[in-house]
Symmetry: C2
Subunit: 620 residues, 2 copies
């Protein structure tokens, strides 16, 4: 039998079902029935349409296969067995301690998995990112195949992906919707009404094909049509049965995520264990990934201490990013339709070919960044910090994918002023600190911002830079070095009685407070904690031991931000008292200065707290 | 002139423009141009179609008017002036300290504003919630009018709302899309291609009407058609010009969010200041809001210390919620298609009329809950805690709305086992703690869970309950009281050398560790910190002073969770050393027990940390 033989395809589909059942059984849990519905789709795909060298997963010419329905992991691993990437013994380690075949796929040790999925609605937006990279960055003809569940079509992030893929004309992208009718707890909104999916897709501008998802010849024709369709992405809406082929579970409610009870009987019904191996077509390896020209000696932005004009850190971000793009051809930028506020527009002007306007769709913004780093690009994605919260689940999953992405959130805190709390990020430090292996940076001056942008480009994992709306004075030399995990002691004496720790806008308030305290004869050390995570424990512990009293101040909620980072660094230190100042209540209308004051995080509040801690009375 | 006179409507539209410009000018900032595009739409709506008693904003018969494009706040406040709700002097306090007319609307002091908007893509999903309440809860014929921007149509949450509104047949809902073509930094994806909006809407199942958004008669007809349309929601796709009526800004790029430069000239162009007052039609006040029958003496779930069978806290959540629904007719439940996992299904079985299946669309899930509390209902919304992160921006904005919603997130932490990190909430405590005025609860036993569910129903603001996948023993009496902000000392002696603080699954590990320590002669106090926020400072400070050493342990990341809550409570306490145990690295495959061990948060790790802190050698 050959890959072209429909009987072989049907047999292969049965093998994928059998192996999905066997692996789930070995693991004691897993989504066998959700795997079985898509088995024929995958059989045809790997035997006839996928172009992938499984011995060389990093080959840039390879297609990309993403399971947006990541719970169908038994099917993914059964595919890996069928193509010879893993053996049967390994297949049966599914979900067991030490196995790389986790309950939902992660790229940790599986080179054929691009990204972690399992939080529904993410695979397609990420696939859009990979496809954008194929079209506009790598400029290679690889295809992106995304296997989607019907339940996850309810996620708005899927609509964002449908919208953007059509807008960008991604004819290298095929979405395959496994319409098995049944979600976790019952029927989906649309059941087997295939038109409900294809009508929406067509309205978004896709080519849509409805197909019987268990008819291998029809599937084959649909994939061929998808490959031939130009100018727009294609969705294959496939009617399938959950648990297909095993009477005890086929199209039955309440069989989601449960291993098959009578495995022996099920395997018999499916014709028993097979050991077919598929020769997957290798990609055409003509052509190398496109590399953008760099500009040779780009001018790195510099600001002088003597500059009278103040500069917003968001502006410095944009300028540094533009300069970085001049140095490095791997750097790309994305923004959520606010590039004139985040100043990502500086990059756009300098490198329009490497800028991606993602419109007001933050999940797709982050998903695209994750997709681009799959192909080795170094994406910087920006929006208002408050609005990155829309994509928090995408950031969380990007960490599970061990993705390398740099994020910039502007307009942090009450110091944005009149626009009000809907636009103020006050939870972002907490949210990003809690992400696995994240880096959280909060610069106060333009030179510091630029230096940190450069650091981020070489830093693994999720890095987040918080920038401010208002302008800041230049307080650091242009050549000053700022490492991730560091801090700067910007004011100190041999006899400091209290330490003030701030970052961003509050650093300037802390400096003003130190001036006021000095007038009362209180020496205050001031630390610029620009690296909120990792945090400079050594400098903080030294300050604790030398001053015994620390005031932290942040334009952020009291929980999980700068203050908690300081407390964490000093958890086991005795003889230090810490006072956290932060935004406790909901801000109302007012200017930046008014809101800093009302929130109790301005110089006056800092000096007051420091006096109390240092045991000094307030001045008369 | 009467409300029926087209000239009056046109004049009213001009007044709304004039007042939008005047208020933005007085405030020094604001989105005048985005207000001007929608002015005619609003003029016709308030003069002819809205049914609202502005003297009685709490009247349950009132229509609801929600500005999803919250940045058009000058228009909202100009409407409030036109209907006589505020006077001209107040209009000119816009965006100034102490004014209730904030940069983006919040309901803080404005009784005619249902919810805060300003983070785009939220008004329509919330409107769906209000409309669902109208249809299925209140069972009153009020209409919900939602004014949307064209840029925000890119947000996936808008698609979730389109999908759900059609599914639920919400013919009491009208969306008005102000297609002014221009976003913040340039043209939207679709410009004035009205069909791109109406085609998508029709594919989702809506009735769509395209209209010239500056033709008052056409607008009037469209609203009438919307009101008459039954069985499906209606969207009015209105072609408009940003900055309409003022040449210097009309349909110009780069005029977003900027006050008009030459105000005098602009007002002249618009025909000067007017002082029209609109008589808005009052609603028909026939009929009272529906009240569901309660079951008299519902059986509150109880578990006995002697019970041999263990019970998962998620199961206790569902049972308590069902019982609560029997006691209180205001309690409603919503779930994101995982009610058989969160156990919200217990409520569904008992009170099917008050349960809302929101499918896998977490933004719409939270949006609907916010919408229902607008109408005074007490919503409990549940999903996996990990997936609530998809709606983090909705939760953040719900806090700005000062909404009262109860959230339950199940399947927290590595202790879910084999399903892997995509399904594990490990950031949720940090994320929810950072929300303004939030409450964060994490019970360990079924009686405690049930008691906290009852507390949540009476608690203002955003409350979050974290439940566990695995079963727990019963350790509290069924009548034990658990207040929000409390804790339980579950083990102590007169001579405790160390304190162990846990919650949820780690409380049991802490108890096991205390047993092991006792064998080595180390007395450990154990605190159940079930209220992570607010936190029981008094008990923690007492433990700090009496034992001098504290080990915190949580099935969560080290940042922003239980450990940081403890450190925050002890910030200014000297002579205490704290050691935080938490999930530091990315979990792989394994069982709950294996992952607790690998993550260093099991009894063995706790005992080890406690011995170190208490200065005891490890046992030989």
């Amino acid at each position: 039998m050959t890959n072209n033989d429909p009987d072989f395809l049907r047999e292969l589909g049965q093998q994928l079902r059998v192996d999905s059942i066997r692996s789930s059984d070995a693991g004691g849990s897993g989504h066998a029935t959700s795997s079985m519905s898509a088995a024929d789709l995958l059989a045809v795909l790997i035997a006839k349409h996928l172009r992938y060298d499984f011995d060389s997963p990093d080959d840039p010419h390879n297609d990309h296969l993403i399971f947006s329905k990541g719970h169908a992991s038994p099917l993914i691993y059964s595919v890996f067995k069928a193509v010879g990437a893993i053996d049967d013994d390994e297949l049966l380690t599914y979900r067991q301690q030490g196995s790389r075949l986790e309950g939902h796929p992660t790229p940790a040790d599986l080179p054929w998995v691009d990204v972690a999925t399992g939080s529904l609605g993410q695979g397609l937006p990420i696939g859009v990112g990979v496809a954008l990279a194929g079209k506009r960055l790598d400029q290679l003809p690889f295809r992106v195949w995304v296997v989607c569940g019907d339940s996850e079509m309810a996620e708005g992030s899927m609509s964002e992906a449908f919208e953007h893929a059509a807008f960008a004309g991604l004819d290298n992208l095929t979405a395959i919707i496994d319409v098995n009718r049944l979600g976790q707890r019952g029927e989906t909104m649309h059941g087997w009404d295939l038109a409900s999916f294809s009508d929406r897709a067509r309205a978004f501008g896709w080519h849509a094909i409805e197909v019987d998802g268990h008819d291998v010849e029809a599937i084959d024709a649909a994939f061929a049509e998808a490959t031939e369709t130009t100018g727009k992405p294609t969705v294959i809406v496939a009617q399938t049965k959950k648990g297909k082929g095993v009477k005890a579970v086929e199209d039955q409610d309440d069989k989601h995520g449960k291993p098959i009870e009578d495995v022996e009987e099920a395997l018999e019904e499916l014709g028993g264990v097979r050991d077919l191996t598929v020769e997957v077509s290798k990609p055409d390896t003509d052509g190398e990934p496109h590399r953008f020209e760099t500009s040779g000696e780009p001018e790195w932005p510099r600001w002088e201490l003597t500059d009278e004009e103040e500069v917003a850190t968001r502006k410095a971000y944009g300028m540094a990013l533009a300069a970085l793009g001049g140095e490095r051809s791997d750097v790309v930028a994305l923004d959520g339709e606010v590039s004139n506020s985040t100043h990502a527009e500086e990059f756009t002007k300098a490198h329009p070919d490497r800028f991606f306007e993602m419109y007001i769709a933050e999940c797709q913004l982050i998903g695209a960044a994750v997709g681009m780093q799959v192909r080795g690009w170094t994406p910087f994605a920006s929006s208002f910090a408050a609005f990155l919260s829309r994509a928090y689940d995408f950031v969380r999953m990007a960490a599970v994918s061990q993705a390398k992405i740099a994020l910039c959130g502007s307009h942090a805190g009450v110091s944005i002023g009149e626009d009000g709390p809907s636009q103020m990020a006050l939870e972002d430090l907490a949210a990003f600190r809690a992400i696995t292996s994240s880096t959280v940076l909060y610069p106060c001056d333009p030179n510091q911002t630029a230096a940190l942008v450069r650091e981020m480009a070489d830093h693994d994992g999720i890095s987040f830079l918080r920038t401010s709306r208002g302008k800041s004075p230049v307080i650091y030399e242009a050549d000053e070095e700022f490492e991730i995990g560091g801090s700067k002691v910007v004011r100190s004496s041999d006899d400091d009685q209290v330490t003030l720790v701030g970052a961003g806008v509050t650093l300037f308030e802390a400096l003003k407070a130190a001036d006021a305290l000095a007038e009362d004869g209180v020496n205050a050390r001031v630390i610029d904690l620009y690296s909120i995570k990792p945090v400079d424990e050594e400098t903080l512990r030294e300050a604790a031991s030398e001053t015994g009293a620390i005031v932290t101040v942040e334009d952020h909620r009291p929980e999980g931000g700068l203050g908690d980072a300081v407390l964490g660094a000093l958890a086991d230190v005795e003889n230090v008292r810490v006072r956290k100042l932060a935004v406790e209540s909901l801000p109302g209308a007012g200017s930046p200065e008014q809101l800093l004051h009302e929130s109790g995080i301005d110089a006056e509040a800092i000096a007051g707290a420091a006096r109390e801690l240092a045991g000094q009375p307030a001045p008369a």
